[in-house]
Amino acid sequence: MERAGGMIGGRILSAITPVLLGALGALAANFPISFLGNLVPPPLLSLMPLYFWGIVRPDLMSPFWAFMLGLLEDFLSGPGSPPGVWAASYVAAYAFLDSQRDVLAGLSGLGALMGFALTALVACVSAYLIVDVYHWRVQPLAPVLAELAVTVIAYVFAVVILGGIHRRVVGPLRSDF
């Protein structure tokens, strides 16, 4: 099956797909309707495309887009949330990802899941520390850990979808062939 990226229109589609999926993830995660009775916080869906394509196609998922996805997360998370928290956290996660790209890209199976968990941990811990300093008060850790756990579990299912989209729509960089 030929990838959509092989055509001119498809090339544009393949270029915007990672960021588009990240934005859709932010919208879905912050949609103010709970499916689980508010028992657990929603996963950081926008972090998944950021991690996935941040490793395999950093030309399409650049630090700028990591910042913008974080900013979108800040905007959509509701009033009262300090602006810039998730923007800074996503940039921190991207910095970790960028520094460990070789290692992370070589992981597979449970190791790949642990790689994502580490990146998500960097994002969540950064957000936690920023909010602590912002409010100058130590916040309870449980909600952040719950969000981290939900995000990592959700990535197990999301990575299958992201992998399929990568194969059919985005594809590797031409210079990589």
Partner: protein, 355 residues
């Protein structure tokens, strides 16, 4: 799984400079947000107004599923819960009888004391159309906004007690910051004893209590109500009961359950300026002592410097205000003017002779 088979498009470390710049930009954004906390609020309100119809449509079929999943934990304790509720119901019926008797007694005392009535309370009923439960934020969205008279700061209550307060009002929607949210801090009063404290949310189910005085002793079970300080919330809104915090201090077990609230009331608290009660004849010392009111003093004709009585010259408007009246100040009236038996109109002194 995952990324094992994918080639890397760029070597490590190629994006260090942009990352540093973006990190600095993010920190600057946080600092700006600290200085101006309503940075995104106008845009957020517009987006919520725009998305409200979609939220209402999507929420209806999902509400049942949401409630069912949210109550899964209760399925395992239905029997114990039922017994506990029956016992609590019997106890509350006794309290209801006591409350009815006490309410009647308080009203009688208020009548006897001519007590100033409670401030006017109006409420706007709204439906919950969205909830957000993030690690650093606990909010809900209501389908009432500025068009219905909703303003930031107003309290939100359900049938059991206070839930939160309006944080941001759009034209047809409003965001509520729950009492459990990190940003929530409201002045409360703890009864009995009228102990003043600040109740602060920390994203756990039970907000903390910061006492304003260190010389008070709290006991679990004491009632927490809004104190009314600051003039935004009415005093006496039921909030919860004091519980001991295992890690020290005290917390508040809230009466309301925001997760299950569907319809709420937004309290429009209009605090009127207190006016002194009108003077009645019985309030005058002489009348209260059983003495007849003092007779008004006889009119003294005004005299000109030459000793002759003055008259209003032709052509001068007799009703024209005098300098004292022009300032809105009325000339002093005799004490008899306040009595039940008014003084004859011709007995009213008029030093200026203009009326």
């Amino acid at each position: 799984m995952a990324n094992g088979g994918w080639k890397i498009a760029r070597r490590r470390g190629g994006a260090q400079l942009p990352i540093a710049l973006l990190a600095a930009l993010a920190v600057a954004l946080i600092l700006i947000g600290k200085a101006q906390s309503n940075l995104f609020d106008r845009a957020r309100a517009n987006v919520t107004d725009w998305a409200a119809p979609a939220l209402q449509v999507v929420r209806t079929p999902l509400a049942g599923l949401d409630r069912w999943i949210g109550s899964i934990g209760n399925l395992f304790s239905v029997y114990q819960e039922n017994l506990r509720l029956k016992e609590e119901n019997a106890r509350l019926r006794q309290w209801q009888n006591a409350a009815v008797v006490l309410d009647g007694r308080v009203k009688r005392y208020q009548l006897l004391l001519h007590a100033v009535p409670d401030p006017a309370l109006q409420t706007v009923m709204a439906r919950v159309i969205g909830r957000a439960n993030r690690p650093f934020l606990q909010t809900m969205i209501l389908d009432a906004g500025k068009a219905q008279g909703v303003k930031p700061g107003q309290g939100v209550i359900d049938a059991r007690g206070m839930i939160g307060r309006i944080f941001l009002a759009g034209d047809h929607t409003a965001w509520v910051i729950l009492l459990t949210d990190l940003n929530s801090r409201i002045p409360v009063s703890i009864e009995p004893g009228n102990v003043q404290a600040i109740m602060a949310g920390d994203n756990t189910g039970a907000p903390t209590l910061d006492l304003l005085s260190q010389n008070v002793v709290l006991k679990p079970g004491m009632q927490v109500v809004s104190s009314g300080d600051g003039g935004l919330l009415p005093p006496g809104l039921a909030i919860g009961t004091v519980v001991a915090d295992p890690s020290g201090g005290f917390r508040v077990a809230l009466l309301a359950d925001p997760a299950s609230s569907e319809d709420v009331n937004i309290v429009d608290f209009k605090q009127k300026a207190e006016a002194p009660p009108a003077v009645s004849p019985a309030d005058l010392p002489a009348t209260a002592a059983g003495l007849p009111p003092a007779a008004p003093p006889a009119p003294i004709p005004a005299t000109a410097p030459n000793g002759l009585p003055t008259t209003t010259p032709p052509g001068v408007n007799a009703g024209a205000p005098q300098p004292a009246a022009a300032n809105g100040a009325k000339p002093p009236q005799p004490a008899a003017a306040n009595t039940a038996k008014p003084a004859p109109s011709d007995a009213t002194p008029d030093a200026g002779g203009a009326e």
